[in-house]
């Protein structure tokens, strides 16, 4: 491991240098089949089962474009405010790495399906920042390599690698921005907000699951610095493996501090890919940009040009959902949140989670309470995105159990922990851990009687108007029930008892 690199104080770095960022975001499309073959678009299961001869590049096999993937790509291009190319072509990107069996990836080079658009990104303070989009192009995903041998499981020291091609050929759209200038000290926050906006757009379109922790949405962050007053852009690094909004923000901040320290000492930045390490909060040097980037692109001879008709483009444009900015205004009104509540939810990146939880049957207020409360707390402790912990549908199920009186908030927090730990659905966790509220009045009354036996003066006090005396009994009953009772119901029963 290299020595810990020197970092410049963030504020000082910003005083001396202007940060310029840029993003390449890969979106996996949720089509039924792959980009160029009719194999199922599914991976993560039994290796090498969702593949056809095309995905293995076997001799004689020929790719055919998935029409649905093209429509999805056009819709995404339109949602990004891009022009749609009257003619776009596929190209071969040649490289030697066994994540694709063909020794090339089918991508698009100088004729992408969509080009020149922009995305309005809402910054944490509520202001809008316009991110210029250079292009969005179609390509295929690669297979998954597992490095075996060596002590770390990483590439260095591996004895051999195992390849699963289930993901090879999964349709991707890669969205590339122009260099983004002007975010200044908020460049890290802009990065996180941009990727979050892309996620909201593709989820709104219904064209991708867009879950960063599952790799449906992946971000490479380009970062460079230039001395204040200099026109020419500095040398950039490309940081990969930033797999959460939080990581995007941290990686940009780190690179700004690292590059500033080098430049301030008169050093130069090496143009290279860098890997983000979530555990250490650092980036490490990867491959230098060199010959390896000479991909010898050429037009894919096995595929024909894509020439979408104006009618198709108009049809897809008409079907676009509202933009995230319009959606936010609508949601705020519908949910009835205060400005502060809404801004908190938005800044926590939890709008989509609440939309989906509400769609699954919860009230906006209870969805907000859980996402920004207990789930956010657990996510912070684990240093992960809240959205990666629990599915909105699972939370909705949990909230329904609270609303029906089967769980108290306290029990629900335990159930939530179980769900996050992978013990199953909320109902299953309730069952396995035996966490149901004791709703049998008979059992509660028995416990109340027992508590009253040791505190005989309580009923008298209540009758004298000292209702708060019930607290001691309620506490004893809750203790006897190991917390699995509804305190409000116990209170009711105690008061009834006093009036009897």
């Amino acid at each position: 491991m290299a020595a810990r690199p020197e970092l410049m104080d963030y504020d000082k770095a910003l005083e001396m240098f202007e940060p310029v960022v840029g993003f390449e975001v890969h979106v996996e499309l949720s089509t039924a089949t792959k980009m160029f073959s009719d194999a199922p678009n599914e991976f993560g299961g039994e290796p090498n089962t969702n593949i056809t001869p095309v995905d293995l590049g076997l001799p004689g096999s020929l790719p055919v474009v998935n029409g649905q993937a093209v429509k999805y790509a056009i819709s995404l291009g339109l949602a990004l405010g891009c022009s749609i190319a009257p003619t776009s072509r596929f190209a071969r990107k040649n490289y030697f790495y066994p994540d694709l069996a063909k020794n090339y990836q089918i991508s698009q080079s100088d004729e992408p399906i969509a080009f020149e658009g922009s995305v309005e990104v809402e910054m944490p303070d509520g202001t809008l920042f316009t991110v210029p989009v250079e292009r969005a192009h179609m390509e295929e995903d690669a297979g998954k390599l597992t490095h075996v041998g060596g002590s770390t499981g990483r590439i260095q020291g591996a004895e051999y690698s195992l390849v699963d091609y289930n993901r090879a050929g999964v349709p991707l759209v890669e969205i590339v921005t122009h260099p983004i200038i002007g975010a200044e000290a908020l460049a890290p926050e802009l990065g996180a907000a941009y990727v979050e906006t892309i996620r909201d757009i593709v989820r709104g379109l219904g064209i991708s699951e867009a879950r960063m922790e599952r790799g449906n949405l992946r971000c490479d962050a380009n970062i460079s610095l230039r001395p204040r007053g200099q026109e020419k852009l500095g040398t950039r690094t490309e940081t990969k493996n930033v797999n959460s909004f939080r990581a995007v923000e941290r990686a940009i901040r780190y690179e700004i501090q690292r590059q500033a320290a080098i430049l301030a000492k008169g050093g130069t930045i090496t143009q290279e890919t860098r890997h983000w390490h979530e555990d250490t909060g650092r980036t490490s040097a990867g491959r230098p940009k060199s010959d390896a980037d000479d991909y010898r692109y050429f037009p894919e001879p096995d595929l024909l040009p894509v020439e979408p008709s104006l009618e198709l483009i108009q049809e897809l444009r008409a079907a676009l959902p509202e933009s995230p900015a319009v959606m936010r205004r609508r949601l705020k009104a519908q949910w009835g949140f205060t400005d502060l509540e809404f801004q908190d939810v938005k800044n926590a990146g939890l709008l989509t989670e609440i939309v989906e939880t509400v769609a699954a049957g919860s009230t906006p207020a209870s969805a907000r309470k859980w996402w920004t409360g207990e789930i956010a707390r657990l996510a912070n402790a684990a240093e992960v995105d809240a959205s990666s912990l629990v599915e909105p549908s699972q939370l909705a199920e949990l909230i329904a159990l609270i609303d029906s009186g089967e769980l108290t908030d306290r029990l629900a927090r335990q159930v939530l922990e179980g769900v996050i730990a992978g013990e199953g659905t909320p109902a299953e966790v309730v069952e396995k851990r035996g966490l149901k509220v004791v709703s049998d009045d008979g059992a509660l009354i028995a416990a109340i009687d027992e508590a009253l036996a040791s505190q005989p003066d309580v009923l008298e006090k209540i009758r004298d108007g000292k209702v708060q005396a019930a607290g001691a009994v309620i506490g004893a009953v809750m203790k006897a029930m190991k917390g699995q009772a509804d305190a409000a119901r116990v209170r009711e029963l105690v008061l009834e008892r006093a009036q009897a």
Binding site: T31, A32, T33, D38, A39, P40, E46, P47, N48, T49, N50, I51, T52, P53, L56, L58, V64, V65, N66, G67, Q68, A69, V70, T87, K93, N94, Y95, F96, Y97, P98, D99, Q105, A142, L145, T146, H147, G149, I155, A158, Y160, S161, L162, V163, D164, Y165, K240, T273, G286, R287, D291, A292, D294, Y295, R296, P299, L304, P305, V306, E307, P308
Partner: protein, 99 residues
């Protein structure tokens, strides 16, 4: 005359992982130069108003419906692999990395 140099041919061969002998490099430098010259001649005739030909037959928009078809079994998929572990292809340790 063409501007293809020996160095360019060596560079290309390196990228394509093809080992060439000095004789082959000489031969290919000449041949590739000839091809580039020929294409340059065609380019003189084809101005910007002549669109590039991507296919001998003018076709576009050939798409497939998004419907799942037949897949290989795991055994079939691995049948041609020089080495595998029963479920995955086995390849030698890779010095490069994801692109």
């Amino acid at each position: 005359m063409s501007e293809i140099t020996r160095e360019q041919v060596e560079h290309l061969a390196g990228l394509a992982r093809i080992a060439l002998t000095p004789d082959e490099i000489d031969k290919l430098t000449g041949e590739l130069g000839h091809i580039v010259d020929s294409i340059a001649k065609v380019s003189e005739v084809a101005n910007a108003d002549v669109p590039a030909t991507s296919h001998p037959i003018p076709l576009s928009n050939v798409f497939r419906d998004d419907v799942v078809g037949e897949t290989l079994t795991q055994e079939q998929a691995l049948a041609g692999a020089p080495e595998h572990d029963g479920t995955r292809f086995k390849v030698s340790a890779i010095l490069g990395e994801e692109q």
